[in-house]
C-alpha cells in the first residue's frame, strides 16, 4: 500500500508528463524540434501507475509514443529535451531522437519506431534475467496497433511457454494511427488473446492511476515469483492526434474527445481523489504543478543551450 | 525558344524510329525544309526535313539509336540562342589571362573558388597537370577504349593511347600494347633511321613456338607474349603502330622520293686505335666525363668529330632537299653541322642530335653522346633534341656488320653507315699487310649529291681517320 508521499508522487509524475508533452507541442510547432512528435497527453496514468510498480533495475521497452514511459522510469527532463532537439547532451547524444530514447541506467531498453518491434526484445530481457538468476522483471509497453503484429504473439507464446518474467502492457488508446482499433481488431475481448496462451489477462481502467498501479503490482509480483507473464489491457485515450501534425482527427468526433478529457482525465481524477482522501490540498497540487512547469522550463533552456553533436560523431557508435 | 526536331510517326503502328544518318552536323546552319537526317522504321527509310531554320544546336539522338516516336531528337536554335548557349569565357584576372595564354591553358578547364580565376588557380591547374593524367586530353582519348592501366602507362611514357591499336576486347588498348610501344618517346618525334635490327632485344623462341607448344613457364617480364599471340598459327601479329608506324612511313617516303646512291670506302683505323689507347692511358681526367664518371672516349665520338669537320669542307653533304617557297625543290646547305646519331631502342630507333658538332671538341662530343644515348633509352629526350639534324651517322659495327646500305633520314641528303673494324689486307709500299679496316658507306640523295662529290667527302674523312692528328689543326 502506498503512503501519502507516494500518492502525491504519482500526481507529480503525471503532471510532469503532461507539461512535458505540452512543451513538446510548442517546441514542435515553433519548428525548434525536428522530426516527428507523438504525444501521450491523456495517457499519463498508464506509464506512471505501471512504472511505480517497478524497481530501478527492472526493465521496460517502450514505443514511438514513449516520452511518458521514459519519464515514469526515471529519466531526467533536461536530457530528454536535449535528445528531442538532437543535442549532444541528449540521452542518446542526439542520435535517437523522440522515438528512440534509451536509458540503460534506469532500465529503459529503448523506445521503438517499429510498432510491436520491442515485444520480443522484452521477452528476451526476461529470459536473460531468468538465466542470470536475478528477479528482475520487464514491462513491454505497446499500443493497440501492435496487437495485430505477429511478433507480439510469437513473443507471448514463448514468454508463456518458458514462464518469463515479462508483463505485456497494452495501452489501448482506441486508435492505431488514424484507424479505429475496433475496425481492424477481431474479437470483442482483447484479453482473450493472452488467455489463449494461458497468460493471466486483465482489462484495466487506464485513466485511473491507482488501478493501473494495483494491477501492475500484482503482475510484477507474479513475474518476480517465477510464475510467468501477465497481459494487461489498459484502456486510455490520447487527446491529441497521432502526432503533432495530425490536426484534423477525422477518424473520431470532437464530442468523444471532449467526453474523455472532461470526464475521464487521469490527472483531474487523481487530484480529486487526493483531495477527497485528505492526502493533499488544492494548494499543494498547485505547487506541484508550478514546480513541474519550472522544471520543464529549465529543461528546455538546458536543451536549447546544449550544442549539436560534433560532426565526427556521425560515424561513431555504429559498432560496439 | 529552340525548335524541337522530333522523331516523326509515319505509320499507324509505328512506335519507334531509328536514326540512320545525320545529314547536318551539330552546329551547322539549316534551312527549313532542308533534309536534316535519315530515319528508318521497320517498313521504310525516309529523309526528315528541318522543321525550321537556324543552327542545329544540339543532336540528341545518335546515329543508330532507336527512338520512340514523338521524342525530341535534336534542337534548332536561332543564332542568338546558340550564341547564348555557348559557354562564355570565364572571368579571369589579367595576370591569370596572361599566364593562361603563356602556358596554353584553356580557362574553361580552370577551377576557382572565387568569382574570378586568379593567378593561384592557374598555378594549381598547372601543378595538377604535372602530376595527373592530362584532363585536357579526354576529348579524343575518351573515344579510344583503353584499360586504366594502359592509360596510366601511356601517360607515364608520354604516349597517346589514341595512337595505339588495342589488342583487347572491343579493340581496347591494354598495358601490353603500351609496353610494346617501347619506353617513353614523344609520339610526334621524327624517330627514324635506317636499317637497325628492330627486335634486337626481343627473345625470339617462345614467340614463334611451333603449334602445340605454348610456353607454359613464361614469366611476366620482358618478352611476354601478348595475349593476342596465336601460337597455333605459327606467327604472331604485331600491329604497325606508334613509333613503328612512324618509322615505317618515313623510310618508305624517303626511299621512294630520294634516289639513293651508296659509296663504300675502307679506312685503315690503325692510327685511330692508337689515338684512343693513348688518350685513355693519359689519365681519365683529360677527358671530362659527360654526366657519369667512367665515361671513356669511344669510336663513335671520334667518327662524329671527324665527320663534322669533314662536312665543313663538303657543305653539299651537310644539306637538306626541301620544297622551297615557290613550291619547287631546293637544296639548303647548312653552315653548322647538326649531327644525328641513330640509337637503337627495344623496338625502333631514335635519332638524337648533336648540335654544332663542328665546333665541339672530342670530350664535349663524348659527353653529349653518353647523355643523349642514356636519355634516349630512358625515354627522356625532349622534342627539340631529336629535330633538325643536317647529317646522320649510323653505326652497326658493334654487331659485326662489315658494311651496309641505309635509308636516308629526310630531308637530309647524306648518311654515313659505319661498319665493323675487321682485320684486312692492305697494300702498303708494295707489301700486303694486315690492318684494322673499317668500311664507311656514304648514302646520298642523288638529287643533290653526285657520285664524285660523295667520293671526295669520303676521301677527306678517310684522310682524317688515318691521320687523326689532323684534328689538332
Amino acid at each position: 500500500m502506498l503512503n501519502t508521499d507516494q500518492f502525491i508522487e504519482l500526481y507529480r509524475q503525471m503532471v510532469t508528463i503532461r507539461r512535458f508533452e505540452e512543451a513538446v507541442w510548442e517546441l514542435y510547432t515553433a519548428a525548434i524540434m525536428p522530426g516527428l512528435a507523438h504525444l501521450s497527453i491523456g495517457q499519463e496514468a498508464v506509464p506512471v501507475g505501471a512504472c511505480a510498480a517497478l524497481r530501478r533495475d527492472d526493465y521496460i521497452t517502450s514505443t514511438h509514443r514513449g516520452h511518458g514511459h521514459c519519464l515514469a522510469k526515471g529519466a531526467r527532463i533536461d536530457r530528454m529535451f536535449a535528445e528531442l532537439l538532437g543535442k549532444v547532451d541528449g540521452y542518446c547524444r542526439g542520435k535517437g531522437g523522440s522515438m528512440h530514447i534509451a536509458d540503460q541506467d534506469m532500465g529503459n531498453l529503448g523506445a521503438n519506431g517499429i510498432v510491436g518491434g520491442s515485444a520480443a526484445i522484452a521477452a528476451g530481457a526476461g529470459l536473460s534475467a531468468k538465466m542470470r538468476g536475478t528477479d528482475q522483471v520487464v514491462i513491454s509497453f505497446f499500443g493497440d496497433g501492435a496487437l495485430n503484429q505477429g511478433l507480439l504473439l510469437e513473443s507471448m507464446n514463448m514468454a508463456a511457454s518458458w514462464k518469463l518474467p515479462a508483463i505485456y502492457l497494452c495501452e489501448n488508446n482506441q486508435y492505431g494511427e488514424y484507424t479505429p482499433m475496433v475496425s481492424v481488431t477481431a474479437g470483442a475481448d482483447i484479453t482473450a488473446r493472452g488467455r489463449a496462451f494461458g497468460i493471466p489477462s486483465f482489462t484495466v481502467d487506464g485513466q485511473d492511476v491507482l488501478a493501473v498501479h494495483a494491477c501492475a503490482s500484482e503482475a510484477v509480483a507474479r513475474a518476480r515469483a517465477g510464475d510467468g507473464p501477465t497481459f494487461l489491457v489498459c484502456n486510455t485515450y490520447r487527446y491529441r492526434g497521432h502526432h503533432v501534425g495530425d490536426q484534423l482527427r477525422a477518424y473520431r468526433t470532437r464530442e468523444e474527445e471532449k467526453e474523455w478529457e472532461e470526464q475521464r482525465d487521469p490527472i483531474a481524477g487523481h487530484a480529486e481523489w487526493l483531495i477527497s482522501h485528505n492526502h493533499a490540498t488544492p494548494a499543494d497540487l498547485e505547487r506541484v504543478d508550478a514546480d513541474a512547469r519550472r522544471e520543464i522550463q529549465e529543461g528546455i533552456e538546458f536543451a536549447k543551450a546544449s550544442p549539436f553533436p560534433p560532426l565526427e560523431e556521425v560515424t561513431e557508435h555504429v559498432y560496439a | 525558344m529552340p525548335i524541337d526536331v522530333i522523331m516523326p510517326k509515319l505509320e499507324m503502328a509505328q512506335d519507334t524510329g531509328t536514326v540512320v544518318r545525320w545529314l547536318k552536323a551539330e552546329g551547322s546552319t539549316v534551312q527549313k525544309g532542308e533534309p536534316l537526317l535519315e530515319i528508318e522504321t521497320d517498313k521504310v527509310a525516309v529523309q526528315v526535313e528541318a522543321p525550321g531554320s537556324g543552327i542545329l544546336s544540339r543532336v540528341i539522338a545518335a546515329e543508330g539509336e532507336e527512338v520512340p516516336v514523338g521524342q525530341v531528337i535534336a534542337l534548332i536554335s536561332s543564332p542568338a540562342e546558340a550564341a547564348a548557349a555557348a559557354p562564355s569565357a570565364p572571368a579571369a584576372t589579367p595576370v591569370a589571362q596572361r599566364m593562361a595564354a603563356a602556358h596554353n591553358v584553356d580557362l574553361q578547364q580552370v577551377q576557382t573558388a572565387g568569382r574570378r580565376i586568379e593567378k593561384q588557380d592557374i598555378e594549381a591547374y598547372l601543378a595538377r597537370g604535372a602530376s595527373q593524367p592530362q584532363a585536357a586530353a579526354p576529348g579524343l582519348a575518351r573515344l579510344t577504349p583503353a584499360s586504366p592501366l594502359a592509360r596510366r602507362l601511356a601517360w607515364e611514357r608520354g604516349v597517346a593511347v589514341t595512337q595505339l591499336r588495342g589488342s583487347g576486347l572491343d579493340g581496347a588498348v591494354l598495358a601490353a600494347d603500351v609496353r610494346q610501344q617501347g619506353p617513353a618517346l614523344p609520339v610526334q618525334s621524327p624517330a627514324f633511321s635506317p636499317v637497325v635490327p628492330e627486335d634486337r632485344k626481343q627473345p625470339i623462341p617462345q614467340d614463334y613456338a611451333p603449334p602445340g607448344r605454348t610456353g607454359t613457364e613464361r614469366g611476366r617480364g620482358e618478352g611476354q607474349v601478348p595475349s593476342e599471340g596465336q601460337p597455333d598459327s605459327g606467327y604472331r601479329v604485331i600491329p604497325l603502330k606508334g613509333t613503328r608506324k612512324i618509322i615505317a612511313e618515313r623510310v618508305q617516303r624517303s626511299f621512294q622520293s630520294a634516289p639513293h646512291i651508296a659509296l663504300t670506302l675502307p679506312v685503315d683505323m690503325t692510327e685511330v686505335r692508337r689515338l684512343m689507347e693513348r688518350l685513355s692511358a693519359a689519365a681519365p681526367g683529360h677527358l671530362p666525363a659527360g654526366n657519369g664518371a667512367g665515361s671513356k672516349l669511344g669510336l663513335t665520338a671520334i667518327l662524329a668529330r671527324c665527320c663534322a669537320v669533314a662536312l665543313t669542307h663538303h657543305p653539299r653533304l651537310n644539306a637538306h632537299v626541301v620544297e622551297g617557297s615557290n613550291a619547287s625543290l631546293e637544296i639548303r646547305e647548312f653552315a653548322s653541322v647538326h649531327l644525328g646519331m641513330a640509337v637503337a631502342l627495344d623496338d625502333g630507333l631514335i635519332v638524337p642530335v648533336i648540335r654544332d658538332a663542328q665546333a665541339k671538341g672530342l670530350s664535349a662530343i663524348q659527353a653529349e653522346i653518353d647523355d643523349l644515348v642514356r636519355r634516349a633509352r630512358a625515354g627522356a629526350l625532349k622534342l627539340e633534341e631529336v629535330k633538325g639534324s643536317t647529317f646522320t651517322i649510323s653505326n652497326l659495327g658493334m654487331f659485326g656488320i662489315e658494311q651496309f646500305s641505309a635509308i636516308l633520314n629526310p630531308p637530309e641528303v647524306g648518311l654515313l653507315a659505319i661498319g665493323a673494324i675487321i682485320p684486312g689486307p692492305l697494300e702498303i709500299q708494295g707489301q700486303m699487310v694486315m690492318r684494322p679496316l673499317m668500311r664507311l658507306t656514304l648514302m646520298a640523295d642523288h638529287r643533290a649529291v653526285d657520285g664524285a662529290v660523295g667520293a671526295r667527302f669520303l676521301a677527306t674523312l678517310k684522310a682524317m681517320l688515318e691521320n687523326p692528328y689532323l684534328l689538332l689543326t
Binding site: 531498453l109 526484445i121 521477452a123 510469437e154 511457454s161 561513431e316 | 592501366l149 605454348t214
Partner: protein, 342 residues
C-alpha cells in the same frame, strides 16, 4: 605471407594432422566458447535435442543442459527478438536460423533493432549476439531453402557478416564473432558441413576483417567467398596448367571488409574476378568489384568481372539448379577471357 611460409592451418596439418569437418569445427567453437563464458547460450529451432537439422550442434545440449541450449518454437522473428533482448541485458546469445532463406523473417529484428541499438542509443546499448545461418544451393531444396542472402545483411550498417570457407576459418571466426560486442551474422554453406580440413587443437581466433590469401599468384586475382573459394582454387589449379598464375583471396568477412588486401592484389595482377554464390544483381560481387575498381583503377588492365548465382529463384530440377551455381568451368573461362586468352 610468402609461399614459403606455411599457413597456420597447413602448418598444423603438417605437425599433428588433426582434421575436422566444417560442422565439427563450428561445434567445437560453440562448445569452447560456452565453457569459457557462462553468458554464451544457444537457441534455435531443433538445436537442442535434435542437434540441429545439419547436426552442427549435436551433443551440445547434453553437455550444457537445455537451459543453455534452448529449443525454440518456429518463430524466427520472435526468437531473434528474444536473442536481442537477452543480448541487451548481459547475455551473449548464439541464435541459429536454420536456413538463410528464413533470415527474411528476422529482418526487422536484425535490421531495425539489433543493428541500430548501439547507434540510436548513442553507444549505451549494445547487442553482442551471433546469428548463425546457412547459404548455398546444390541440395535440391528448391527456391525457399537454397538462397544465399548474405548481401542483405551486408548492406546494413551495424551488422557484421562472416562467411567462412574452411573448417579452420569457421572455428576461428565464430569464436571471434561470439566475443564481439556487435551483432554478427555468420553464413555457413550447408554444402560444406562435411568438408574436412586441418583444425588445430586448442585456442585460436581469427580477427574479423582480415582477408586470407588462399593461393598466391601473379596474373589474375580471384576473390571468392564461402564454398566459391574451393571452386576458385580448383580453377586456379587448372589455370596454372596453362601457365597462368591466379591469386585466390577469401575476404572471410564481408563486413568488416579487408579492402586493402583485395586492392593490393588487384594492383599486383591488374585483373580481378569476383565469385560469390549470392544473386548477381545488386550483390556482393558488385560491391567487391566496386571496391577493387575504386582502389586499383589505374592498375587495372581489364574490367573487373563478376560470377554469381543466376538471377532466378533457385530451381528444383537438378540440372537446372546446377546451372544457376557458379562453377569451376565458368571461373576458368572468365579468367581466360580477362587474360585475353579465348
Amino acid at each position: 605471407m610468402s609461399t614459403l611460409e606455411p599457413r597456420p592451418d597447413e602448418l598444423h596439418a603438417a605437425v599433428n594432422g588433426r582434421e575436422l569437418t566444417f560442422a565439427e569445427a563450428i561445434r567445437e567453437a560453440l562448445a569452447e566458447e560456452m565453457r569459457r563464458d557462462p553468458r554464451v547460450f544457444l537457441m534455435g529451432e531443433d538445436v537442442g535435442g535434435a542437434g540441429g537439422v545439419f547436426k552442427v550442434t549435436e551433443g551440445i545440449q547434453a553437455e550444457f543442459t537445455p537451459k543453455r541450449v534452448i529449443d525454440t518454437p518456429i518463430s524466427e522473428a520472435g526468437i531473434a527478438g528474444i536473442a536481442i533482448g537477452a543480448a541487451l541485458t548481459g547475455m551473449r546469445p548464439v541464435l541459429e536460423i536454420m536456413f538463410g532463406d528464413f533470415t527474411t523473417l528476422v529482418m526487422d529484428q536484425m535490421v531495425n533493432q539489433a543493428a541500430k541499438a548501439y547507434y540510436m542509443s548513442g553507444g549505451k546499448l549494445s547487442v553482442p549476439m551471433v546469428l548463425r545461418t546457412t547459404m548455398g544451393a546444390g541440395r535440391r531444396s528448391a527456391a525457399q531453402h537454397s538462397q544465399s542472402l548474405h548481401a542483405w545483411t551486408s548492406h546494413i550498417p551495424g551488422l557484421k557478416v562472416v562467411i567462412p570457407s574452411t573448417p579452420y576459418d569457421a572455428k576461428g571466426l565464430l569464436k571471434s564473432a561470439i566475443r564481439d560486442n556487435s551483432p554478427v551474422i555468420i553464413f555457413e554453406d550447408k554444402m560444406m558441413y562435411k568438408l574436412k580440413g586441418p583444425v588445430p587443437e586448442g585456442e585460436y581466433t581469427i580477427p574479423l576483417g582480415l582477408a586470407d590469401v588462399k593461393r598466391e599468384g601473379q596474373d589474375i586475382t580471384i576473390v571468392a567467398t564461402s564454398s566459391m573459394v574451393h571452386i576458385a582454387l580448383s580453377a586456379a589449379e587448372r589455370l596454372s596448367e596453362q601457365g597462368i598464375s591466379a591469386e585466390v583471396i577469401d575476404p572471410r568477412t564481408l563486413f568488416p571488409l579487408d579492402a586493402q588486401t583485395l586492392i593490393s592484389s588487384a594492383k599486383k595482377t591488374s585483373r580481378a574476378l569476383i565469385v560469390d554464390e549470392g544473386y548477381r544483381r545488386y550483390g556482393i560481387t558488385g560491391e567487391l568489384a566496386s571496391v577493387i575498381t575504386e582502389g586499383a583503377f589505374y592498375y587495372l588492365d581489364a574490367p573487373v568481372r563478376r560470377i554469381a548465382a543466376f538471377d532466378v529463384p533457385v530451381p528444383f530440377s537438378p540440372p537446372l539448379e546446377d546451372a544457376t551455381i557458379p562453377n569451376e568451368e565458368l571461373v576458368v573461362k572468365t579468367a581466360l577471357e580477362l587474360l585475353g586468352r579465348r
